[in-house]
Symmetry: D2
Subunit: 130 residues, 4 copies
Protein backbone atom coordinates (compact mmCIF):
# COMPACT_ATOMS: atom_id res chain seq x y z
CA UNK A 1 0.00 0.00 0.00
CA UNK A 2 1.18 3.53 -0.80
CA UNK A 3 0.49 6.30 1.71
CA UNK A 4 0.25 9.97 0.67
CA UNK A 5 -0.33 12.68 3.24
CA UNK A 6 -2.26 15.67 1.95
CA UNK A 7 -2.89 19.02 3.63
CA UNK A 8 -6.20 20.47 2.35
CA UNK A 9 -5.93 23.91 0.72
CA UNK A 10 -8.38 26.82 0.94
CA UNK A 11 -8.70 26.70 -2.84
CA UNK A 12 -9.92 23.09 -2.56
CA UNK A 13 -12.94 23.98 -0.39
CA UNK A 14 -16.23 25.18 -1.81
CA UNK A 15 -19.08 27.41 -0.75
CA UNK A 16 -20.85 24.52 0.99
CA UNK A 17 -17.94 24.64 3.48
CA UNK A 18 -16.16 21.36 2.79
CA UNK A 19 -13.68 20.00 0.25
CA UNK A 20 -15.28 20.16 -3.18
CA UNK A 21 -16.02 16.78 -4.73
CA UNK A 22 -13.89 17.54 -7.82
CA UNK A 23 -10.81 17.57 -5.55
CA UNK A 24 -10.94 13.87 -4.67
CA UNK A 25 -9.89 12.82 -8.21
CA UNK A 26 -6.98 15.28 -7.87
CA UNK A 27 -5.86 13.86 -4.53
CA UNK A 28 -6.30 10.27 -5.67
CA UNK A 29 -4.20 11.02 -8.76
CA UNK A 30 -1.60 12.56 -6.41
CA UNK A 31 -1.60 9.26 -4.51
CA UNK A 32 -0.63 7.41 -7.71
CA UNK A 33 2.63 9.27 -8.34
CA UNK A 34 4.75 6.25 -7.32
CA UNK A 35 2.59 4.06 -9.58
CA UNK A 36 3.33 6.39 -12.50
CA UNK A 37 7.03 6.15 -11.60
CA UNK A 38 6.90 2.36 -11.95
CA UNK A 39 5.64 2.78 -15.52
CA UNK A 40 7.67 5.85 -16.48
CA UNK A 41 10.69 5.80 -14.12
CA UNK A 42 11.91 9.33 -14.95
CA UNK A 43 8.31 10.69 -14.90
CA UNK A 44 9.00 12.34 -18.27
CA UNK A 45 5.79 13.08 -20.17
CA UNK A 46 7.39 12.14 -23.49
CA UNK A 47 7.52 8.60 -22.19
CA UNK A 48 4.17 8.70 -20.36
CA UNK A 49 2.52 5.29 -20.52
CA UNK A 50 -0.84 5.41 -18.81
CA UNK A 51 -4.28 6.50 -19.95
CA UNK A 52 -7.25 6.50 -17.60
CA UNK A 53 -10.31 4.69 -18.93
CA UNK A 54 -12.63 4.64 -15.91
CA UNK A 55 -12.93 6.32 -12.53
CA UNK A 56 -15.51 5.25 -9.97
CA UNK A 57 -15.75 7.12 -6.71
CA UNK A 58 -17.93 6.75 -3.62
CA UNK A 59 -18.26 9.81 -1.41
CA UNK A 60 -18.77 8.31 2.04
CA UNK A 61 -18.45 11.31 4.37
CA UNK A 62 -17.77 15.02 4.09
CA UNK A 63 -14.09 15.89 3.87
CA UNK A 64 -13.09 18.77 6.12
CA UNK A 65 -10.61 21.54 5.35
CA UNK A 66 -9.33 21.62 8.93
CA UNK A 67 -7.95 18.10 9.09
CA UNK A 68 -5.02 16.44 7.31
CA UNK A 69 -5.82 13.72 4.82
CA UNK A 70 -4.28 10.33 4.23
CA UNK A 71 -4.67 8.75 0.79
CA UNK A 72 -4.12 4.98 0.69
CA UNK A 73 -3.40 3.41 -2.69
CA UNK A 74 -3.42 -0.23 -3.71
CA UNK A 75 -3.35 -2.18 -6.96
CA UNK A 76 -6.55 -4.18 -7.14
CA UNK A 77 -5.95 -6.12 -10.35
CA UNK A 78 -3.31 -6.42 -13.07
CA UNK A 79 -4.44 -7.45 -16.53
CA UNK A 80 -2.47 -7.91 -19.71
CA UNK A 81 -2.68 -4.30 -20.96
CA UNK A 82 -4.53 -2.66 -18.07
CA UNK A 83 -4.60 -2.43 -14.29
CA UNK A 84 -7.00 -1.22 -11.61
CA UNK A 85 -6.03 1.03 -8.70
CA UNK A 86 -8.11 0.97 -5.52
CA UNK A 87 -7.83 3.97 -3.23
CA UNK A 88 -9.21 5.40 0.00
CA UNK A 89 -9.25 8.87 1.52
CA UNK A 90 -9.09 9.05 5.31
CA UNK A 91 -9.32 11.86 7.85
CA UNK A 92 -8.39 10.52 11.27
CA UNK A 93 -10.44 7.33 11.63
CA UNK A 94 -13.11 8.49 9.18
CA UNK A 95 -13.20 6.97 5.69
CA UNK A 96 -14.32 9.92 3.52
CA UNK A 97 -14.11 8.50 0.00
CA UNK A 98 -13.04 5.38 -1.84
CA UNK A 99 -12.89 4.27 -5.42
CA UNK A 100 -11.15 2.71 -8.35
CA UNK A 101 -9.23 4.01 -11.34
CA UNK A 102 -8.73 1.77 -14.36
CA UNK A 103 -5.68 2.50 -16.50
CA UNK A 104 -4.53 1.16 -19.82
CA UNK A 105 -0.80 0.87 -20.51
CA UNK A 106 -0.80 3.22 -23.46
CA UNK A 107 1.73 4.25 -26.06
CA UNK A 108 0.88 7.85 -26.97
CA UNK A 109 3.07 7.79 -30.12
CA UNK A 110 1.42 4.77 -31.69
CA UNK A 111 -1.89 5.63 -29.95
CA UNK A 112 -2.42 2.03 -28.90
CA UNK A 113 -2.62 -0.05 -25.75
CA UNK A 114 0.39 -2.28 -25.13
CA UNK A 115 1.27 -5.19 -22.88
CA UNK A 116 2.51 -4.02 -19.48
CA UNK A 117 6.28 -4.74 -19.42
CA UNK A 118 7.47 -7.37 -16.95
CA UNK A 119 9.44 -4.94 -14.75
CA UNK A 120 6.42 -2.67 -14.33
CA UNK A 121 4.21 -5.69 -13.64
CA UNK A 122 6.53 -6.83 -10.86
CA UNK A 123 6.55 -3.30 -9.40
CA UNK A 124 2.77 -3.02 -9.51
CA UNK A 125 2.28 -6.44 -7.94
CA UNK A 126 4.12 -5.29 -4.80
CA UNK A 127 1.16 -3.03 -4.02
CA UNK A 128 -1.53 -5.65 -4.66
CA UNK A 129 -4.45 -5.56 -2.22
CA UNK A 130 -4.92 -9.04 -0.84
Amino acid sequence: MLLTKIIPRVSETDGAGHINNTVMPVWFEAGRKDIFKLLTPDLCFKRWRVALVNMNLDYVAQTRFQEDVLVKTWIEKIGNKSFVVYEELHQGDRLCAKGTATYVYFNYESQSAETIPEAARVGLSKHLKI
Copy 2:
Protein backbone atom coordinates in the same frame (compact mmCIF):
# COMPACT_ATOMS: atom_id res chain seq x y z
CA MET B 1 -31.24 17.90 -21.95
CA LEU B 2 -29.02 20.73 -20.78
CA LEU B 3 -26.22 21.95 -23.04
CA THR B 4 -23.11 23.70 -21.67
CA LYS B 5 -20.42 24.98 -24.00
CA ILE B 6 -16.92 24.93 -22.53
CA ILE B 7 -13.72 26.43 -23.91
CA PRO B 8 -10.73 24.40 -22.67
CA ARG B 9 -8.13 26.38 -20.71
CA VAL B 10 -4.34 26.01 -20.78
CA SER B 11 -4.46 25.31 -17.04
CA GLU B 12 -6.72 22.33 -17.74
CA THR B 13 -4.19 20.54 -19.95
CA ASP B 14 -1.41 18.36 -18.59
CA GLY B 15 2.09 17.34 -19.57
CA ALA B 16 0.78 14.43 -21.65
CA GLY B 17 -0.62 17.13 -23.97
CA HIS B 18 -4.37 16.73 -23.53
CA ILE B 19 -7.02 17.78 -21.01
CA ASN B 20 -6.16 16.22 -17.66
CA ASN B 21 -8.61 13.57 -16.48
CA THR B 22 -9.34 15.45 -13.22
CA VAL B 23 -10.93 18.22 -15.32
CA MET B 24 -13.86 16.13 -16.56
CA PRO B 25 -15.51 16.09 -13.09
CA VAL B 26 -15.10 19.89 -13.04
CA TRP B 27 -16.72 20.33 -16.45
CA PHE B 28 -19.49 17.87 -15.67
CA GLU B 29 -20.22 19.72 -12.42
CA ALA B 30 -20.29 22.95 -14.46
CA GLY B 31 -22.90 21.29 -16.68
CA ARG B 32 -25.15 20.75 -13.63
CA LYS B 33 -25.48 24.42 -12.67
CA ASP B 34 -29.11 24.57 -13.85
CA ILE B 35 -29.83 21.35 -11.94
CA PHE B 36 -28.47 22.98 -8.77
CA LYS B 37 -30.69 25.99 -9.50
CA LEU B 38 -33.76 23.74 -9.51
CA LEU B 39 -32.89 22.59 -5.99
CA THR B 40 -31.55 25.91 -4.64
CA PRO B 41 -33.17 28.59 -6.84
CA ASP B 42 -30.98 31.49 -5.62
CA LEU B 43 -27.85 29.28 -5.71
CA CYS B 44 -27.05 30.44 -2.17
CA PHE B 45 -24.72 28.03 -0.37
CA LYS B 46 -26.57 28.51 2.92
CA ARG B 47 -29.50 26.75 1.28
CA TRP B 48 -27.44 24.23 -0.69
CA ARG B 49 -29.32 20.95 -0.94
CA VAL B 50 -27.24 18.41 -2.79
CA ALA B 51 -24.47 16.07 -1.72
CA LEU B 52 -22.67 13.85 -4.21
CA VAL B 53 -22.50 10.19 -3.23
CA ASN B 54 -21.09 8.54 -6.33
CA MET B 55 -19.36 9.55 -9.55
CA ASN B 56 -18.66 7.06 -12.33
CA LEU B 57 -16.82 8.21 -15.41
CA ASP B 58 -15.74 6.51 -18.63
CA TYR B 59 -12.93 8.15 -20.56
CA VAL B 60 -13.70 7.22 -24.15
CA ALA B 61 -11.30 9.37 -26.16
CA GLN B 62 -8.61 11.98 -25.49
CA THR B 63 -9.99 15.48 -25.01
CA ARG B 64 -8.08 18.13 -26.91
CA PHE B 65 -7.22 21.65 -25.77
CA GLN B 66 -7.69 23.08 -29.25
CA GLU B 67 -11.36 22.26 -29.70
CA ASP B 68 -14.47 23.59 -27.92
CA VAL B 69 -16.39 21.18 -25.75
CA LEU B 70 -20.09 20.51 -25.40
CA VAL B 71 -21.33 18.98 -22.15
CA LYS B 72 -24.75 17.32 -22.38
CA THR B 73 -26.63 16.73 -19.14
CA TRP B 74 -29.69 14.56 -18.48
CA ILE B 75 -31.49 13.24 -15.43
CA GLU B 76 -31.33 9.46 -15.59
CA LYS B 77 -33.43 8.58 -12.55
CA ILE B 78 -35.31 10.34 -9.74
CA GLY B 79 -35.70 8.49 -6.45
CA ASN B 80 -37.34 9.56 -3.23
CA LYS B 81 -34.32 11.28 -1.68
CA SER B 82 -31.77 10.95 -4.48
CA PHE B 83 -31.35 11.36 -8.21
CA VAL B 84 -28.87 10.33 -10.89
CA VAL B 85 -27.41 12.65 -13.51
CA TYR B 86 -26.14 11.21 -16.79
CA GLU B 87 -23.70 13.33 -18.78
CA GLU B 88 -21.59 13.29 -21.92
CA LEU B 89 -18.63 15.33 -23.11
CA HIS B 90 -18.37 15.93 -26.85
CA GLN B 91 -15.80 17.55 -29.11
CA GLY B 92 -17.25 17.89 -32.60
CA ASP B 93 -18.70 14.45 -33.35
CA ARG B 94 -16.37 12.67 -30.94
CA LEU B 95 -17.75 11.42 -27.61
CA CYS B 96 -14.79 11.93 -25.24
CA ALA B 97 -16.26 10.99 -21.86
CA LYS B 98 -19.54 9.96 -20.26
CA GLY B 99 -20.71 9.11 -16.81
CA THR B 100 -23.13 9.40 -13.95
CA ALA B 101 -23.28 11.42 -10.76
CA THR B 102 -25.57 10.30 -7.95
CA TYR B 103 -26.80 13.02 -5.61
CA VAL B 104 -28.71 12.91 -2.36
CA TYR B 105 -31.09 15.76 -1.53
CA PHE B 106 -29.31 16.78 1.63
CA ASN B 107 -30.00 19.19 4.46
CA TYR B 108 -26.60 20.41 5.65
CA GLU B 109 -28.04 21.89 8.87
CA SER B 110 -29.68 18.69 10.09
CA GLN B 111 -27.03 16.62 8.27
CA SER B 112 -29.63 14.27 6.85
CA ALA B 113 -31.09 13.24 3.52
CA GLU B 114 -34.59 14.53 2.84
CA THR B 115 -37.37 13.84 0.36
CA ILE B 116 -36.94 15.84 -2.85
CA PRO B 117 -39.66 18.55 -2.79
CA GLU B 118 -42.36 18.31 -5.42
CA ALA B 119 -41.36 21.51 -7.28
CA ALA B 120 -37.78 20.30 -7.65
CA ARG B 121 -38.98 16.87 -8.72
CA VAL B 122 -41.08 18.42 -11.48
CA GLY B 123 -38.11 20.53 -12.59
CA LEU B 124 -35.75 17.55 -12.65
CA SER B 125 -38.22 15.40 -14.57
CA LYS B 126 -38.15 17.86 -17.48
CA HIS B 127 -34.59 16.76 -18.19
CA LEU B 128 -35.25 13.02 -17.95
CA LYS B 129 -33.40 10.91 -20.51
CA ILE B 130 -35.94 8.73 -22.23
Copy 3:
Protein backbone atom coordinates in the same frame (compact mmCIF):
# COMPACT_ATOMS: atom_id res chain seq x y z
CA MET C 1 -10.30 44.35 -26.63
CA LEU C 2 -11.11 40.65 -26.24
CA LEU C 3 -14.24 39.61 -24.33
CA THR C 4 -14.58 36.23 -22.63
CA LYS C 5 -17.77 35.24 -20.85
CA ILE C 6 -17.27 32.91 -17.91
CA ILE C 7 -19.88 31.04 -15.87
CA PRO C 8 -18.53 30.49 -12.33
CA ARG C 9 -18.34 26.85 -11.23
CA VAL C 10 -19.07 25.41 -7.77
CA SER C 11 -15.52 24.06 -7.71
CA GLU C 12 -14.23 27.61 -8.08
CA THR C 13 -15.85 28.87 -4.87
CA ASP C 14 -14.30 28.47 -1.44
CA GLY C 15 -15.47 28.09 2.13
CA ALA C 16 -15.61 31.86 2.60
CA GLY C 17 -18.54 31.75 0.14
CA HIS C 18 -17.12 33.55 -2.90
CA ILE C 19 -14.86 32.72 -5.83
CA ASN C 20 -11.45 31.74 -4.47
CA ASN C 21 -8.66 34.17 -5.30
CA THR C 22 -6.59 31.49 -7.05
CA VAL C 23 -9.31 31.29 -9.71
CA MET C 24 -8.75 34.79 -11.09
CA PRO C 25 -5.39 33.82 -12.66
CA VAL C 26 -7.19 30.85 -14.26
CA TRP C 27 -9.96 33.03 -15.70
CA PHE C 28 -7.53 35.69 -16.86
CA GLU C 29 -5.44 33.03 -18.59
CA ALA C 30 -8.68 31.78 -20.19
CA GLY C 31 -9.21 35.33 -21.48
CA ARG C 32 -5.87 35.19 -23.30
CA LYS C 33 -6.65 32.19 -25.51
CA ASP C 34 -6.93 34.36 -28.63
CA ILE C 35 -3.65 36.03 -27.70
CA PHE C 36 -1.97 32.62 -27.53
CA LYS C 37 -3.51 31.85 -30.95
CA LEU C 38 -1.78 34.90 -32.42
CA LEU C 39 1.57 33.54 -31.28
CA THR C 40 0.89 29.83 -31.90
CA PRO C 41 -1.86 29.76 -34.55
CA ASP C 42 -2.65 26.03 -34.22
CA LEU C 43 -2.40 26.23 -30.37
CA CYS C 44 -0.09 23.20 -30.51
CA PHE C 45 2.03 22.95 -27.35
CA LYS C 46 5.05 21.76 -29.36
CA ARG C 47 5.12 25.22 -30.90
CA TRP C 48 4.14 27.09 -27.72
CA ARG C 49 5.84 30.46 -27.64
CA VAL C 50 4.98 32.31 -24.46
CA ALA C 51 6.38 32.17 -20.95
CA LEU C 52 4.86 34.20 -18.14
CA VAL C 53 7.37 36.28 -16.17
CA ASN C 54 5.13 38.41 -13.95
CA MET C 55 1.53 38.51 -12.81
CA ASN C 56 0.14 41.41 -10.80
CA LEU C 57 -3.45 41.29 -9.65
CA ASP C 58 -5.65 43.69 -7.69
CA TYR C 59 -8.69 42.18 -6.01
CA VAL C 60 -11.18 45.05 -6.01
CA ALA C 61 -14.44 43.41 -4.93
CA GLN C 62 -15.66 39.95 -4.00
CA THR C 63 -16.56 37.81 -7.00
CA ARG C 64 -19.85 35.97 -6.60
CA PHE C 65 -20.70 32.45 -7.72
CA GLN C 66 -24.24 33.40 -8.69
CA GLU C 67 -23.43 35.94 -11.40
CA ASP C 68 -21.83 35.50 -14.84
CA VAL C 69 -18.40 37.02 -15.37
CA LEU C 70 -16.97 39.05 -18.21
CA VAL C 71 -13.19 39.07 -18.66
CA LYS C 72 -11.86 41.97 -20.75
CA THR C 73 -8.39 41.60 -22.21
CA TRP C 74 -6.14 44.25 -23.76
CA ILE C 75 -2.50 44.46 -24.81
CA GLU C 76 -0.93 47.21 -22.73
CA LYS C 77 2.55 47.27 -24.22
CA ILE C 78 4.56 45.44 -26.88
CA GLY C 79 8.34 45.28 -26.44
CA ASN C 80 10.96 43.62 -28.58
CA LYS C 81 10.83 40.19 -26.94
CA SER C 82 8.02 40.67 -24.45
CA PHE C 83 4.52 42.09 -24.10
CA VAL C 84 2.16 43.06 -21.31
CA VAL C 85 -1.50 42.04 -21.11
CA TYR C 86 -3.94 44.17 -19.11
CA GLU C 87 -7.15 42.52 -17.99
CA GLU C 88 -10.29 43.17 -16.00
CA LEU C 89 -12.93 40.93 -14.43
CA HIS C 90 -16.47 42.32 -14.31
CA GLN C 91 -19.75 41.11 -12.81
CA GLY C 92 -22.58 43.34 -14.05
CA ASP C 93 -21.29 46.87 -13.50
CA ARG C 94 -18.91 45.84 -10.71
CA LEU C 95 -15.18 45.68 -11.43
CA CYS C 96 -14.05 42.73 -9.29
CA ALA C 97 -10.38 42.36 -10.25
CA LYS C 98 -7.81 43.80 -12.62
CA GLY C 99 -4.18 43.18 -13.36
CA THR C 100 -1.34 42.62 -15.76
CA ALA C 101 0.50 39.61 -17.08
CA THR C 102 3.95 40.03 -18.61
CA TYR C 103 4.97 37.45 -21.18
CA VAL C 104 8.23 36.76 -22.94
CA TYR C 105 8.16 35.37 -26.48
CA PHE C 106 10.00 32.20 -25.65
CA ASN C 107 11.46 29.32 -27.62
CA TYR C 108 11.16 26.25 -25.40
CA GLU C 109 13.56 24.20 -27.57
CA SER C 110 16.44 26.66 -27.39
CA GLN C 111 15.24 27.85 -23.96
CA SER C 112 15.71 31.48 -24.90
CA ALA C 113 13.66 34.61 -25.45
CA GLU C 114 13.25 35.64 -29.09
CA THR C 115 12.07 38.69 -30.98
CA ILE C 116 8.30 38.68 -31.46
CA PRO C 117 7.71 37.94 -35.19
CA GLU C 118 6.16 40.72 -37.24
CA ALA C 119 2.85 38.91 -37.92
CA ALA C 120 2.28 38.30 -34.21
CA ARG C 121 3.22 41.90 -33.44
CA VAL C 122 0.61 43.17 -35.88
CA GLY C 123 -1.98 40.83 -34.35
CA LEU C 124 -1.18 41.91 -30.80
CA SER C 125 -1.26 45.60 -31.71
CA LYS C 126 -4.91 45.28 -32.77
CA HIS C 127 -5.81 44.78 -29.10
CA LEU C 128 -3.72 47.67 -27.76
CA LYS C 129 -5.37 49.64 -24.97
CA ILE C 130 -5.23 53.29 -25.90
Copy 4:
Protein backbone atom coordinates in the same frame (compact mmCIF):
# COMPACT_ATOMS: atom_id res chain seq x y z
CA MET D 1 9.79 31.61 8.18
CA LEU D 2 7.24 28.90 7.41
CA LEU D 3 8.24 25.92 5.26
CA THR D 4 5.73 23.91 3.23
CA LYS D 5 6.81 20.90 1.20
CA ILE D 6 4.75 20.29 -1.91
CA ILE D 7 4.77 17.29 -4.25
CA PRO D 8 3.73 18.43 -7.76
CA ARG D 9 0.69 16.66 -9.19
CA VAL D 10 0.08 15.57 -12.80
CA SER D 11 -3.04 17.76 -12.80
CA GLU D 12 -0.84 20.77 -12.03
CA THR D 13 1.26 20.42 -15.18
CA ASP D 14 0.23 21.82 -18.55
CA GLY D 15 0.74 20.99 -22.19
CA ALA D 16 3.97 22.99 -22.31
CA GLY D 17 5.38 20.29 -20.02
CA HIS D 18 5.94 22.19 -16.77
CA ILE D 19 3.82 23.31 -13.81
CA ASN D 20 1.16 25.70 -15.09
CA ASN D 21 1.56 29.29 -13.90
CA THR D 22 -1.91 29.34 -12.31
CA VAL D 23 -0.68 26.72 -9.81
CA MET D 24 1.83 29.01 -8.07
CA PRO D 25 -0.94 31.09 -6.43
CA VAL D 26 -2.45 27.80 -5.22
CA TRP D 27 0.83 26.59 -3.72
CA PHE D 28 1.59 29.97 -2.20
CA GLU D 29 -1.85 30.04 -0.61
CA ALA D 30 -1.14 26.52 0.71
CA GLY D 31 2.02 27.93 2.30
CA ARG D 32 -0.08 30.45 4.24
CA LYS D 33 -2.22 27.91 6.12
CA ASP D 34 -0.42 28.60 9.43
CA ILE D 35 -0.85 32.34 8.81
CA PHE D 36 -4.60 31.81 8.40
CA LYS D 37 -4.54 29.81 11.65
CA LEU D 38 -3.07 32.79 13.50
CA LEU D 39 -6.04 34.89 12.39
CA THR D 40 -8.76 32.20 12.62
CA PRO D 41 -7.38 29.63 15.10
CA ASP D 42 -9.99 26.94 14.39
CA LEU D 43 -9.78 27.61 10.62
CA CYS D 44 -13.58 27.83 10.57
CA PHE D 45 -14.82 29.74 7.51
CA LYS D 46 -17.61 31.38 9.54
CA ARG D 47 -14.87 33.22 11.39
CA TRP D 48 -12.60 33.74 8.36
CA ARG D 49 -10.80 37.04 8.69
CA VAL D 50 -8.64 37.66 5.66
CA ALA D 51 -9.36 39.07 2.22
CA LEU D 52 -6.68 39.23 -0.45
CA VAL D 53 -6.28 42.65 -2.09
CA ASN D 54 -3.15 42.20 -4.20
CA MET D 55 -0.98 39.41 -5.50
CA ASN D 56 2.29 40.06 -7.31
CA LEU D 57 4.28 37.16 -8.64
CA ASP D 58 7.59 36.86 -10.48
CA TYR D 59 8.15 33.67 -12.44
CA VAL D 60 11.91 33.22 -12.29
CA ALA D 61 12.44 29.72 -13.67
CA GLN D 62 10.34 26.86 -14.98
CA THR D 63 8.93 24.64 -12.25
CA ARG D 64 9.29 20.95 -12.99
CA PHE D 65 6.80 18.17 -12.25
CA GLN D 66 9.54 15.69 -11.39
CA GLU D 67 11.03 17.51 -8.41
CA ASP D 68 9.60 18.26 -4.94
CA VAL D 69 8.90 21.88 -4.11
CA LEU D 70 9.62 23.94 -1.01
CA VAL D 71 7.49 27.02 -0.38
CA LYS D 72 9.03 29.54 2.04
CA THR D 73 6.68 32.06 3.64
CA TRP D 74 7.52 35.24 5.55
CA ILE D 75 5.60 38.25 6.79
CA GLU D 76 7.08 41.27 5.06
CA LYS D 77 5.09 44.04 6.72
CA ILE D 78 2.31 44.42 9.30
CA GLY D 79 0.07 47.49 9.04
CA ASN D 80 -2.90 48.51 11.13
CA LYS D 81 -5.57 46.65 9.16
CA SER D 82 -3.45 44.83 6.59
CA PHE D 83 -0.29 42.77 6.21
CA VAL D 84 1.98 41.64 3.41
CA VAL D 85 3.22 38.08 2.92
CA TYR D 86 6.45 37.46 1.01
CA GLU D 87 6.96 33.98 -0.42
CA GLU D 88 9.37 31.95 -2.50
CA LEU D 89 9.08 28.68 -4.40
CA HIS D 90 12.22 26.54 -4.57
CA GLN D 91 13.15 23.30 -6.32
CA GLY D 92 16.51 22.09 -5.02
CA ASP D 93 18.75 25.17 -5.18
CA ARG D 94 16.68 26.83 -7.93
CA LEU D 95 14.41 29.75 -7.03
CA CYS D 96 11.45 29.23 -9.39
CA ALA D 97 9.04 31.98 -8.28
CA LYS D 98 8.65 34.67 -5.66
CA GLY D 99 6.06 37.24 -4.80
CA THR D 100 3.88 39.04 -2.34
CA ALA D 101 0.29 38.74 -1.20
CA THR D 102 -1.38 41.68 0.53
CA TYR D 103 -4.23 40.84 2.89
CA VAL D 104 -6.72 42.98 4.73
CA TYR D 105 -8.01 41.81 8.12
CA PHE D 106 -11.62 41.61 7.07
CA ASN D 107 -14.91 41.02 8.85
CA TYR D 108 -17.17 39.28 6.32
CA GLU D 109 -20.33 39.91 8.40
CA SER D 110 -19.91 43.67 8.61
CA GLN D 111 -18.08 43.67 5.23
CA SER D 112 -15.39 46.00 6.56
CA ALA D 113 -11.68 46.01 7.30
CA GLU D 114 -10.78 45.90 10.98
CA THR D 115 -7.70 46.45 13.11
CA ILE D 116 -5.60 43.30 13.40
CA PRO D 117 -6.07 42.02 16.98
CA GLU D 118 -2.99 42.11 19.22
CA ALA D 119 -2.66 38.32 19.56
CA ALA D 120 -2.68 37.87 15.79
CA ARG D 121 -0.19 40.73 15.41
CA VAL D 122 2.21 39.06 17.82
CA GLY D 123 1.82 35.77 15.98
CA LEU D 124 2.43 37.35 12.57
CA SER D 125 5.48 39.25 13.82
CA LYS D 126 7.23 35.98 14.66
CA HIS D 127 7.50 35.30 10.92
CA LEU D 128 8.78 38.77 9.97
CA LYS D 129 11.46 38.78 7.28
CA ILE D 130 14.37 40.83 8.59
